[in-house]
């Protein structure tokens, strides 16, 4: 097959047919209730966010415009199970440049939060959460480094209040989310 035909065939295959049965008309309202994502319906698909997105430039899959469209269409399952939602680097360029002030990065965050609630989270976040619970810091700072601080004339690193942190993890319900993931 000549190159152009191959490309065309690929494109047709990618242009999946959407079925109304896969659309959840209430999904956009579910998302718009999440703080920061209120304006999801205002997006008129101009594509400024994708054009200006540093990640989209280097990814064949991450397209913020598309994530918002999928939200509007109610393609909940497809969206929440798509690993691509984890690629936003939160540079907020889309937030600053959106002519409709939609707050795209916040919508992506809302989608991620929901995906975690209903499905799972990338392992790195479990590690970060576990580190915070254990030490108060997002990273496990090696003992050697803490000792080196003394040599460098730096003050001792404050110890976090782990009891308070554990309580906050509990009250917000995040502990449960983490436990759910483990089982």
């Amino acid at each position: 097959m000549p190159e152009t035909e191959k490309e065309e065939a690929k494109e047709t295959a990618q242009r999946a047919v959407l079925k109304t049965a896969d659309m959840d008309p209430k999904f956009k309202y579910e998302i718009s209730k999440i703080p920061g994502a209120e304006k999801v319906m205002l997006c008129f698909q101009c594509g400024t966010c994708t054009a200006d997105c540093p990640i989209a430039r280097f990814s064949d899959f991450y397209r913020p415009r598309k994530l918002v469209r999928m939200t509007q269409l109610g393609l909940k399952k497809k969206l929440l199970s798509n690993d691509v939602i984890w690629l936003c680097s939160t540079c907020f360029t889309c937030v600053d440049r959106c002519p409709q002030d939609v707050g795209i990065a916040n919508i992506v965050r809302a989608i991620r939060n929901l995906s975690v609630k209903e499905r799972d989270m990338p392992i790195v976040f479990k590690e970060l959460a576990s580190n915070i619970l254990k030490t108060g810091y997002a990273y496990m700072i090696p003992e050697l480094r803490l000792k080196k601080r003394e040599e460098q004339g730096l003050p001792t690193l404050p110890k976090a209040n782990l009891e308070s942190i554990a309580k906050l993890f509990g009250i917000t319900g995040f502990s449960k989310t983490l436990e759910k993931e483990r089982t």
């Binding site: 907020f92 970060l128 942190i165 906050l168």
Partner: protein, 295 residues
């Protein structure tokens, strides 16, 4: 002039991997008459957990803000990420009664209450707004006139523009002016405001490395001798990861990445040891040679 006394919010990345930023900041701010108060019992700003649970982020940030309120001090962060998170949450809780009530319900359980009496600043705000360029220039003893550098301001200290309200997110000049105050020349280059990509490196390393490679190429193209940063995450992407970038793309860069406080420290006459320059992954001795020539 406002009282130059701040609660230092160190965050996690700096004590974990980038202590040269802390070392040089303490030296430089001391010379500028700034008093830094250590922040006992602080915890992670909350940013790393925002993608998975927004409430958890808000609550962790709010707890830090309460600690500052208890001490009647404003917070100063060194990290763009910590600044973005603490500042955003502080502003939202001050403006949104419902959100504040919800946060306080959580905080009550640990005997705290958010009142809205503190302000969050980044090192850059303290330098540019509270201390001021004139005072910084006064303390420069060895102007770095022979040095040509480029700057990377990073995202969370200027974006979202509506929330931060500092500098122009599309054309930030504060760091450029801070660099000029040291006597060094600050060069313009392509895509100065492009993100370093660090926040997603735990999920996908390929894209951040490509972003960082592009940044380094653009910086090299204008002949900058070093890139100046004000965020430990950005610094990590360009300095610690530079050998990895070189290996991945089979391309040599060798561009030293200095914290702004190291650059200013050199101009103030501190030695490279005093500023933790030997801790940088990419050798900065060529830069130092320039500074020594200046002597």
């Amino acid at each position: 002039m406002p009282e130059l006394k701040y609660l230092l919010f160190m965050g996690c990345v700096i004590p974990y991997r980038i202590s040269s930023y802390e070392i040089s900041t303490r030296k430089v701010l001391d010379k500028l008459g700034v008093e830094l108060v250590e922040m006992p019992e602080f915890n992670c700003c909350g940013l790393p957990l925002d993608p998975v649970n927004h409430d958890m982020m808000v609550t962790l940030a709010a707890r830090n803000l309460c600690l500052a309120e208890q001490r009647n001090l404003n917070i100063m962060t060194l990290c763009n990420g910590c600044f973005g998170t603490l500042n955003h949450v502080n502003k939202e809780l001050k403006e949104d009664k419902k959100l504040k009530e919800k946060a306080n319900e959580y905080l009550k359980e640990i005997g705290m209450e958010f009142r809205g009496t503190t302000t969050v600043k980044h090192l850059m705000h303290v330098l540019a707004e509270d201390i001021g360029f004139e005072k910084i220039k006064e303390k420069v003893q060895k102007p770095l006139t022979h040095l040509r550098v480029a700057q990377h301001t990073g995202c969370h200290v200027i974006r979202p523009g509506k929330v931060v309200g500092f500098d122009d997110p599309e054309n930030p000049t504060t760091l450029k002016n801070l660099i000029k105050a040291t006597g060094a020349k600050c060069l313009d280059y392509m895509d100065e405001t492009e993100c370093c990509g660090a926040p997603i490196i735990g999920v996908n390393a390929e894209i951040p490395l490509q972003l960082a490679r592009e940044k380094l190429s653009n910086v090299r193209a204008v002949g900058a001798q070093a890139l100046i940063t004000v965020c430990p995450f950005c610094h990590m992407m360009y300095d610690l990861n530079q050998p990895r970038i070189e290996k991945t793309f089979n391309e040599q860069f060798g561009i030293p990445i200095l914290h702004y406080t190291q650059l200013l420290g050199l101009a103030m006459g501190f030695s490279s040891d005093e500023l933790g320059l030997e801790q940088l992954r990419v050798d900065a001795s060529k830069i130092l040679a320039e500074v020594i020539v200046e002597k």
